[in-house]
């Protein structure tokens, strides 16, 4: 395996780089889109259940199907990495929008009430009080979304854009386990690092959360 890595260093690194971008860009897009969506689901409670249902349906579409159908729907080119990014963004949103809504709903009503009574306006209250308090829940969802994205990118290799997935198809066509093992290990490693980073961010952003865990 080490031998394979040495011989194909450039190729593997390129696949890894592509993998990182294809997996993480959708996470960023997903965050930006799900925050307002999740908020709407809380602000207008009637929207919550339909939102959860739509998210569930989107999440059950097989990734390969989404990768292939998207060009027809959004008019991108067949091989465009945009398809992968959009598809994974859809999954991220499907996961996170609900998480954001649940996170915001989990915030103690008396706290939002207290904030209102102190003269917070809605938007400032959202960013100053509700979102920070929902952060532990939201970040837990973000971990799931990020890790799943990293593992899903490789399916794109079936249509020629798949980061480390290229190592899978390459190894598979040659009936050669080494590149597949390298690809799987790197993908898992990448997911592990991303997960760890989010945990570290969470610890830095929510020092109070660890304290309240001990509170009865």
């Amino acid at each position: 395996m080490i031998d394979y890595l040495q011989r194909n260093q450039e190729l593997v690194l390129e696949a890894l780089g592509e993998h990182v971008v294809l997996a993480l860009l959708p996470v960023l897009i997903g965050i930006v889109v799900s925050l307002p969506l999740g908020y709407l689901g809380v602000r207008f409670p009637r929207l919550y259940q339909p939102m959860v249902n739509v998210c569930g349906i989107l999440y059950s579409i097989p990734s390969l199907a989404l990768f292939v159908i998207l060009p027809v729907v959004i008019g991108t080119k067949v091989l465009s990495p945009v398809n992968i990014v959009v598809a994974l963004s859809i999954y991220t949103v499907a996961l996170l929008a609900r998480t954001v809504a649940d996170g915001l709903r989990s915030v103690d009503r008396t706290l939002t009430d207290a904030a209102t009574a102190m003269g917070y306006r809605r938007i400032r209250r959202l960013f100053g009080v509700e979102l920070p308090l929902a952060l532990p829940v939201v970040l837990a969802g973000l971990r799931v979304a990020t890790v799943s994205n990293i593992s899903l990118v490789s399916v794109g290799a079936l249509i020629g854009v798949g980061g480390l997935g290229a190592l899978f198809t390459r190894g598979f066509q040659l009936f050669y386990a080494e590149p597949i093992i390298v690809g799987v290990l790197l993908s898992v490693l990448l997911a592990g690092i991303a997960d760890l980073l989010i945990v570290l961010v969470q610890r830095a952003l929510t020092p109070w959360a660890r304290l309240s865990a001990g509170r009865v």
Binding site: S60, A65, V68, A157, L164, F168, V184, A191
Partner: protein, 229 residues
Amino acid sequence: MDSSYLFDPEHWDPGAAGSIPQLLLSHLGYSALALLFGTLIALPVGLFIGHTGRGSFLAINAGNAGRSLPTLGLLMLMVTLLGLGLTPVLIALTVLVIPPVLTSTYAGMRSLDASVVDAARGMGMRPSQVLLRVEFPMALPVLMGGFRSAALQVIATATVAAAVGLGGLGRLLIDGLALNDYSRVLAGAVVVAALAIVLDLLLGLIQRSIVSPGLTGRAVRTRRAAPAP
């Protein structure tokens, strides 16, 4: 978007090779086997860890670690190492099932009210009785949640079986892709998503029937709904 493939009655003839009903059946077959094996492995381990508290690190981290394994890579690796056939597909899908079931079993066991378990022991139940009559039924709602999400994941992922020459609804995706036939790919996506939704509803009904109403709040609701005497 062209849905002609999906609505062509020819593709729904259960007798025809490669028809949607046949693919559906094999898809369900792979998924059911993977769920069965995955649960057979993960459930006892989860119950053990939850009951004893030993190895909880494993259970907590199994979820994300499992999610991080790229199923396509695992599948291709298994085919490369073991050759063609059902076994590599089942291994890859089973690996997918284990983490959510393990994690949710553990979480279900850990979420139990310690005083209830204590009371059960105090009444003289043996450890096996505590586990089977108290802990397991009480952990069931959380556990079923994990099983349902595992089922959804497997249904969506079992499509990769087609990438290594097997059947299942992934056939529609892979063949549609090779033939540049979007109508077929769309049919695949729709049928898989519909299957996932129907299955989730079904599992929801099963959950209702096997989880004690005392745990779901339904009993409370019915009582409250009844008119006061």
